[in-house]
Amino acid sequence: MEYVIMTTGFALAIFGLYGLLSQKNLIKIIIGFSIFTTGINIVMVAIGYVRGGIAPILDNEGISQIAAQKSIVDPVPQALVLTSIVIGLGVTALMLAYVMKLYQDKKSLNINDYKNLKW
Amino acid sequence: MQKGINNLIEKFGASDLEERRPGLSFITVENTKAVAAITHLKDIDGYTVLSLITAVDWIEDGIMQLTYLLNNPAEIAEIGLRVMLERKKEAGESMETIHHLWPNAKKWQQELKEMFGINFPGSPNINDDFILEGWDAAPPNRRDFDTKKFAEETFFPRPGRETHDPAEHMKKNMYPKNPADYTNKKYNPNR
């Protein structure tokens, strides 16, 4: 199961990356970027998964700490994913803001129109 | 050759054709049409070489004649184009310049200006000295310039100079009376 998820995640990331690298429309590029980050996030979640594991919530009534360490799903990646999602969101938002400004500037969404800086 | 002359006669109203020998003809053109005629001869009829420009002072007729001698190397033919200018009493006849056709024309014209007083307005360096330096008398080749008088006034003639007719003088003084004397070893005319 986790391999399916991981594969899916990688596939998504690669699709996203492909979109990011191949599309000329800025919005499509950003969509590609979103898919890319989403894919990576999925990979992260998949990494932390333990087959048959339980939610990583520790309380005194549940299983012992020792048992828990074996059976619970690794909580760290999940925490990481949350952060990562937040950051991905921030970056995407910033990108979109940029695109908006750029569009106001040149009335174009084609990335090839923004090559004033080179060499 | 004939074509060029015909052109001159037809297009430029040239007259007084005079064929000295095959390949050398003289013809007169009006001075207003002269440059056009020369241009035509050069550009169309193949008279690409300017041999010379010279002048003749017809003081009796009141004419200053300019002669442009043009050469056609392809046909080995020459045309002398005569232009009759009205002679002025004091120098200063004027003629259009042709230095734009042949750059070397400026030197001929400079010479004519200096020696005959014929002006060619627009010709480069036309007022520069050509061979005379610091000349301020009348142009010496005009026939009303009395060169002997000028020399006597200017060059301190040595008194006592005699002039003889060379032919008579030599007959009298130098050649032997008797042609047989030529063989006479004792006679040495150089002595």
């Binding site: 990356l17 990011l20 970027f33 750029l102 | -």
Partner: protein, 1040 residues
């Protein structure tokens, strides 16, 4: 002691807090921001102080009270304290610098700015790899926010490209982190290191991703187009933060995580660093846009530091100093340059001459440039010297070579830029607006740079605080620059006199050094005396002149390689500024500098090899070089030959000497060139004849052809000073040839030439320089007949020229006589004949110079000229007295030198009591020749006077002119293309083949750079593809 965590707290709180201020309180909030930055600086500074005086130990801070892996931990050790301090300082200074701009944009910008600085702090301090990711991302977002501080179309585009690139990079980083965590079970760096991920292939991939991404954050060549765009388009004040702050943090992170990868990774990093350093600087050579140029340079410098980090295992103990010196140097200099760029506001480097309007700013600009290239006394000089020494000692010569190539490439564009700044046209209307808040940070970094140089001394073997004494004097001269020239001249002469007196004990007893010391110091003072005829302030002249002389003094007095190299570079820098003062000197000073820098690097490599062999910095290490001796000696010889302008390396000289100011030409020609000779002599003495047999043989030929081509070219010159410059090339060719013979007579001839060339070339350049100024033209054919106006100058030049041509009875003949003997005894016959041929050609230009300037026809506009100033004539006649003394009593000078040389070579010259010099081949009595010729001269002159009645004085047109009269002096003076016949016959020898060769080389390099930089297509997507390709290639090379 305030905990380091408060840095974060303070920043976060402030950033949050600033949001509450309304738009009306912008100034207030600005000061609040500065206060916050100051607080952060204070905290890190406090820690740094504590670590420096040993009162603190490394602190680990755990958030939320757990230990890793369940918590994020920060570390505050001396390294972290230093780096956070640097970052905070740059943040504070940058904040001050950007104050107005931030205020205009608003509180949000200030928040972003603070967050950026904070994130950099955390990046440095954190030991948690995911935390690292988070703050890298925060940093990226903040950076993206700051890029559009100036909302221009370009900065918007750059920001988007930046976001795309960092997005891809961070995605990859995330994958790396998560797999690292998966395999190591820890997010803590130490934990990951302990887990030794490299053992498994999958783990290695994780480490690969982490390190590769961190490398990519440092913008390695060529996957760095997005970074360059940021440098180019964003506000320069922010560029300084990126270049100095972000890069510093990034480098530290790399340093921090590198142990994850183990030894192999150090190697990869150093290779990446090298590629970046060389590639970026090479591509930069084509760049004309100032900020982008700075970007290339930043990336290059970071690449260099990256290399050093990669070399950590090799460098061992020296690593810390080298890395830190190079980083600090880049940090301070690049921040300063970006800030200056923000003041100048000129896009193209050719327009930067506006900088000249403010001399303080100009000086600081110069300091930054020289610091970047690695000139003394800046930290990079020490760092680079130590780096090269260590590298060569550890058998990494190729790394050293590549680093020097990269440095040279950086020099190519930096000095071009400097040339534009110093020499380009300057429009009068523009006024440079320098607000105080922009000026002060620049001053502070400049002062820090100088201080850092000073404090680098204890880390480098051979370095000595004494070297800073003349620098202090130069600083003092710089401070009194507002005074009129004659006062500064007097001060300089006094200073040089005192310094000579101070240094004299160091050379006393060593005749060779004493001679060169005398030439440098005495010659220096004499050439300074000439400066009295200059009016006005001569701004900037005296510091640089004294810098050159300080360098020369250091060279000749030092006994270790570091000191020698220090002096060499100091002299190069000083002479560069002297040369570029000439009106049309820009290209010539540029080529001089490039040749000098290249030569210095060759010397450095040679020294490195010597050091590697002897493990000592003392010059004696040159004696027995065991590591690649042939290469070492060749490198050193070629290095010194760039200064002596030997054939092939001479193309800079004619322009540099010819276009220099009238009193600079004698300095750089008569005096400076001897530095190269001194180096060569030193080298040959240590090398010995046996070791350098082939090299010496080749150098002999080079010397011979240099002499021939130099003299031949001189005789075809139409420019007076260029003629003298080419003559210098020729004379230096003699010297090279003479000392390459490695016999007592050869060296004696070499010394004779050294002394003579000093004497007569100083005279010639002084007098001709004075005349050129008076006559208002360099061209020989525009002068003439000046003997009537300047008889004393004529006499001086005549004597100098007779000396140069080697005619008896003057001392030039001593050289020729020794030469003949040496050539026959050595057996270098054919080379010798070439040199003698060159000698006869010297007559040609001697005559041409004398004739064209002094004889022939006086020109219309020179009819009222007067004799040149006594301040020139007095030193000139002192030198002439020297020539006469040397000529009449050659024994007094040559015998001690011969005795000294007898220590090294078999003695072949004897001196009889009556002054007769005797070799087994020949004899010569300079004294007798002098007496006989002078008495003959008097007798013959008396005879002529006796048979000559009263002479009628004539004017210049009273000549036989084929019964004509001359028209104008210009058409009557024969000077232009004087030796047309010779030119037709053998002019092909001086066809500018060598100049063309070098032109082609530089064209090839620039064209190559022009092709490579097409990579940077300007398309953000392409840059992302670069990143992917880079990762893939890197992966295939490192792991795959």
């Amino acid at each position: 002691m305030v905990g380091p965590i408060y840095i974060i707290a303070l920043a976060l709180g402030l950033a949050f807090f600033l949001g509450f201020f309304g738009k009306s309180l912008k100034t207030f909030s600005g000061f609040v921001m500065l206060a916050g930055l100051a607080g952060m600086t204070f905290i890190s500074g406090q820690w740094l102080m504590a670590f420096v005086d040993g009162s603190a130990t490394t602190q680990e801070i755990f958030t939320a009270g757990f230990k890793p892996p369940f918590s994020i931990n920060l570390r505050m050790g001396i390294e972290e304290a230093t780096f956070t301090f640097m970052i905070n300082v740059i943040g504070l200074l940058g904040g001050i610098y950007l104050f107005n701009r931030l205020k205009e944009v608003g509180n949000s910008a200030m928040s972003v700015f603070i967050v950026l600085i904070m994130s950099l702090n955390v990046i440095v301090m954190t030991r948690d790899i995911f935390n690292l990711f988070v703050f890298v991302e925060i940093g990226s977002i903040a950076t993206a926010g700051m890029i559009i501080l100036d909302k221009t179309s370009k900065s918007l585009q750059a920001g988007l490209k930046y976001l795309l690139a960092t997005g891809v990079i961070s995605g990859l980083l995330l994958i790396g982190i998560i797999f690292a965590y998966y395999f190591a079970g820890s997010l803590n760096i130490d934990g990951i290191i302990a887990a030794n991920l490299m053992a498994s292939k999958a783990g290695a991939v994780a480490v690969f991703l982490i390190i590769a991404v961190l490398v990519l954050e440092l913008k390695p060549f060529p996957a760095n187009g997005w970074g360059l765009d940021v440098y180019e388009s964003s506000n320069p004040g922010f560029g300084a933060i990126v270049s100095a702050g972000t890069a510093t943090a990034g480098l530290f992170v790399l340093y921090k995580v590198l142990p994850m990868g183990g030894d192999a990774w150090y190697q990869y990093i150093s290779i990446i660093g090298l590629i970046t350093f060389v590639g970026s600087n090479l591509v930069g050579t084509q760049q004309k846009i100032a900020n982008r140029l700075l970007g290339y340079s930043s990336i290059g410098q970071i690449g260099l530091v990256m290399t050093v980090i990669g070399l950590q295992p090799i460098l061992g103990d020296a690593f810390a100093f080298i890395a830190f010196a190079l980083l600090l140097n880049h940090f301070l200099a690049k921040a300063g340059l970006f800030w200056i760029s923000g003041i100048i506001k000129k896009e193209n480097i050719t327009d930067w001459s506006a900088l000249r309007k403010n001399s303080a700013l100009l000086i600081m600009f110069v300091i930054f440039i020289f610091a970047l290239i690695g000139f003394p006394p800046f930290p990079s000089f020490f760092g680079k010297y130590e780096l090269i020494m260590s590298l060569i000692s550890s058998d990494n010569i190729w790394v050293a070579v590549v680093i020097l190539i990269g440095s040279f490439a950086e020099g190519i564009y930096m000095f071009r830029w400097l040339g534009h700044v110093l020499k380009n046209e300057n429009s009068e209307e523009e006024v440079l607006d320098i607000p105080w808040n922009k000026f002060i940070p620049i001053v502070l970094v400049t002062v820090s740079l100088l201080a850092a140089g000073f404090y680098s001394v204890p880390f480098v073997a051979g370095a000595n605080y004494f070297y800073f004494v003349p620098l202090a004097f130069i600083l003092f001269l710089g401070l009194i620059d507002f005074l009129p020239a004659y006062i500064k001249n007097t001060v300089s002469i006094a200073g040089m006199g005192y310094y000579s007196w101070l240094l004299y004990p160091l050379v006393e007893g060593d005749l060779m050094r004493t001679i060169f010391f005398a030439i440098f110091m005495f010659g220096g003072i004499l050439t300074l005396v000439v400066g009295y005829n200059k009016s006005g302030k001569r701004e900037g002249f005296y510091p640089v002149a004294l810098m050159m002389y300080a360098g020369l003094a250091t060279i000749v007095t030092t006994d270790n390689m570091f000191g020698f190299f220090f002096g060499w570079e100091l002299m190069t820098a000083g002479s560069y500024f002297l040369i570029i003062r000439g009106k049309r000197s820009k290209p010539h000073a540029y080529s001089y500098m490039l040749f000098s820098v290249a030569g210095a690097y060759l010397i450095l490599l040679g020294f490195g090899l010597a050091h590697a062999s002897g493990q000592t910095q003392a010059l004696i290490a040159l004696k027995d070089i065991s590591v690649l001796p042939t290469l070492a000696y060749t490198l050193l010889a070629v290095g010194f030959m760039t200064k002596t302008a030997s054939l092939g390396l001479h193309i800079w000289l004619p322009g540099a000497h010819g276009e220099a100011e009238s009193d600079v030409s004698p300095m750089v020609s008569a005096v400076l060139l001897k530095a190269g000779v001194f180096g060569l002599m030193l080298l040959f003495l240590y090398m010995g004849e046996q070791t350098g047999d082939t090299l010496l043989f080749i150098l002999g030929w080079v010397g011979a052809f240099t002499a021939l081509v130099g003299n031949l070219a001189a005789s075809f010159q139409e420019d007076a000073k260029r003629m003298l410059a080419y003559s210098s090339i020729g004379q230096l060719g003699y010297i090279l040839f003479a000392i390459a013979m490695m016999t007592q007579l050869g060296w004696l001839a070499g010394f004779t030439y050294v002394i003579n060339h000093f004497l007569f070339k100083a005279i010639l350049f002084m007098v001709v320089g004075g005349i050129v100024v008076k006559a208002g033209t360099h061209n020989l054919y525009q002068m003439g007949g000046l003997i009537k106006k300047m008889p004393l100058s004529f006499l001086a030049v005549l004597i100098a020229m007779i000396t140069m041509a080697g005619l008896p009875p003057l001392s030039g003949f001593a050289g020729k006589w020794l030469f003949y003997n040496a050539v026959i005894l050595k057996g270098w016959y054919i080379q010798g004949v070439i040199v003698f041929f060159a000698g006869t050609i010297a007559f040609l230009y001697a005559f041409k110079l004398l004739h064209s300037i002094f004889l022939g026809q006086l020109k219309d506009n020179h009819r009222n000229l007067k004799e040149i100033s006594p301040s020139i004539l007095i030193p000139v006649y002192i030198l002439i007295a020297g020539i006469f003394y040397f000529s009449a009593f050659p024994q007094d000078v040559l015998e001690p030198i011969g005795n000294m040389l007898a220590n090294y070579f078999p003695s072949t010259l004897e001196w009889a009591a009556d002054g007769n010099a005797v070799t087994i081949l020949s004899n010569w009595n300079g004294n007798a020749v002098m007496i006989i010729i002078i008495s003959m001269f008097v007798l013959v002159l008396g005879y002529l006077w006796l048979i000559t009645g009263k002479t009628q004085k004539l004017e210049q047109f009273n000549i036989v002119y084929s019964a004509e009269r001359p028209f104008r002096p210009e058409t009557t003076h024969v000077s232009h293309n004087m030796f047309a016949g010779l030119n037709k016959a053998i002019g092909f020898l001086v066809a500018p083949g060598i100049t063309n060769f070098w032109n082609n080389v530089s064209k090839m390099v620039l064209d190559f750079a022009g092709v490579v930089r097409r990579l940077y297509s300007g398309n953000g997507q392409v840059y992302a593809i670069h990143i992917i390709i880079y990762i893939v290639v890197f992966y295939l090379i490192s792991i795959g």
